[in-house]
């Protein structure tokens, strides 16, 4: 490990880190928004309502993210409908494709987390809300979802860390995220140990900061205090 190498290439890697963070932020925020209706549908007692999200989740959890990414980035170009369609300027952009795939991927996982959390909300609390005359929709927004958010938060923070690590795949579609930068530096300097080691260090730092941030959030939302049944 030489300081010279670190000083020379660290700015490049940090530049890659901003791209990684952008991808992760888009994926976990958009994924959460998409996952809320899907999680609710998945927790439904109606078989037909449950079937569609189940198929979606089965596909996205059963195949590697790399395959999904290649399907979107390389695969869609096979169809003339898409290459001549209005969305093509977006779908040929690797950043858009990576963000889209990561969002679709993490939505499946977050929806499962949300389903578990919704089903873990104590029945008595839901019944109490209904007994007070709240409609089903009202009970969902004011009682079930806020409660489920706290139950699911630890699992969601895990998912964010997993997405941080999954974002390394963006380097396979020519994006220069942390891993992509490290690969470029390796190709230029032939110093694989140092370039990949530095990249690993940055990932470790980011995940450490994220874990601490989620701990703070959990304290602010009083997750532990509300776990008592």
């Amino acid at each position: 490990m030489t300081w010279e190498f670190t000083l020379k290439w660290m700015p490049k890697l940090l530049q890659g880190a901003t791209l990684t963070l952008e991808l992760v932020a888009i994926a976990v925020v958009a994924g959460l928004i998409l996952a809320i209706p899907m999680g609710i549908a998945r927790a439904s007692r109606n078989n037909y309502v449950r079937a569609l999200p189940y198929a979606y989740i089965f596909f996205f959890r059963g195949t590697p993210l790399l395959v999904q990414l290649f399907l979107v980035y390389y695969g869609l170009a096979q169809f003339d409908v898409i290459t001549q369609g209005p969305l093509w300027p977006y779908l040929r952009d690797p950043f858009f494709c990576a963000a889209l795939t990561m969002t679709l991927h993490t939505t499946a996982y977050i929806a499962e987390i949300l389903r578990g959390a919704i089903q873990a909300v104590p029945v008595g609390e839901v019944e109490a809300a209904r007994a007070l005359g709240m409609s089903q929709a009202k009970a969902m927004t004011y009682i079930i979802l806020p409660r489920a958010a706290r139950i699911g938060l630890p699992a969601y923070s895990n998912e964010v860390i997993l997405m941080l690590k999954a974002s390394a795949l963006a380097s396979t579609v020519t994006l220069l995220d942390i891993t992509g930068m490290a690969r470029t530096i390796n190709a230029r300097t032939y110093m694989p140990e140092q370039s990949f080691f530095l990249a690993g260090l940055i990932y470790l730092t980011i995940s450490f900061v994220l874990v601490q941030a989620f701990k703070l959030l959990e304290r602010k939302l009083r997750v532990n205090a509300l776990q008592g049944r």
């Binding site: 089965f58 596909f59 059963g62 195949t63 590697p64 993210l65 790399l66 395959v67 999904q68 290649f70 399907l71 390389y74 695969g75 869609l76 170009a77 096979q78 169809f79 941080l164 690590k165 999954a166 974002s167 390394a168 795949l169 380097s171 396979t172 891993t179 490290a182 690969r183 390796n186 694989p192 140990e193 990949f196 080691f197 990249a199 690993g200 990932y203 470790l204 995940s207 450490f208």
Partner: protein, 231 residues
């Protein structure tokens, strides 16, 4: 869409075999590493605790893809030096070996936590009973703790195996000829990316679905004699 996949079908099937071999080899290495990690973390020795803790934190904080690259490219110089000592020129890790080590390392780090949880859930009285019967510590672990641990650790390990199965796709980045790599080769030849990546996706789906069935069978076998909690 062509049913014989432009003649790439057999290659893809061979790739699937390679993927399975890779996953099972990494599983073996990962189970050993996980068991060692859990033993280190639960031991009373401070140094061992530190090693176990550092291993699981360090490996879990870094992306799997980076481990694959680090182990494949990062060991070239070291391997050459070792080869030099033993008089073997150009000694290096094959893509398969690098993949097994990287994926085994990642599996082991997560398995450490699964095994540790399982170990802690075994009542202290069982260990004490073993000691009272005059069994040595390794024997207590092998004959008493391990068989009971297995049942508790199995669901967690099953989840990890699914993740491992999907992570094998990453090894295609260093050129190992598994499903993804063969799909890429076929795409270059036919210019039908969607078809071949979809076939690859279906192959992975088949493998995960099959291992789900296998795991359910293992879990049922392991929990024979234990009443299912009513739920």
């Amino acid at each position: 869409m062509n049913l014989d996949l432009h003649g790439f079908g057999p290659a893809l099937a061979a790739g699937m075999l390679m993927t399975i071999q890779l996953a099972l080899s990494a599983l073996c290495l990962g189970l050993v590493l996980g068991l060692l990690g859990a033993l280190a973390k639960t031991s009373s020795n401070r140094a061992l605790q530190w090693i176990g803790g550092t291993y699981s934190t360090l490996v879990r904080g870094i992306p799997e893809l980076l481990w694959v690259l680090l182990i494949y490219f990062g060991t070239v110089n070291a391997m050459r030096a070792i080869g030099h000592i033993f008089g073997i020129p150009n000694l290096s890790l094959s893509a398969f070996a690098a993949g097994v080590i990287a994926l085994g390392l990642c599996f082991g780090a997560y398995a450490t936590e699964v095994f540790r949880g399982a170990m802690l859930s075994i009542p202290k009285g069982h260990r004490e009973a073993g000691l009272a019967l005059g069994l040595s510590r390794p024997r207590i672990f092998i004959k008493l703790v391990m068989p009971q641990m297995w049942r508790i650790a199995l669901p967690g390990l099953g989840n990890l195996f699914m993740i491992l199965m999907k992570d094998t796709a990453l090894v295609s980045v260093i050129g190992l000829e598994e499903v993804m790599r063969h799909a890429q080769i076929a795409v270059t030849g036919t210019k039908e990316p969607f078809t071949f990546y979809m076939v690859a996706a279906l192959m992975y789906l088949t493998m995960t679905a099959l291992s789900m069935v296998g795991l359910a069978w293992l879990e049922r076998r392991a929990s024979v004699g234990f009443a299912r909690s009513a739920s």
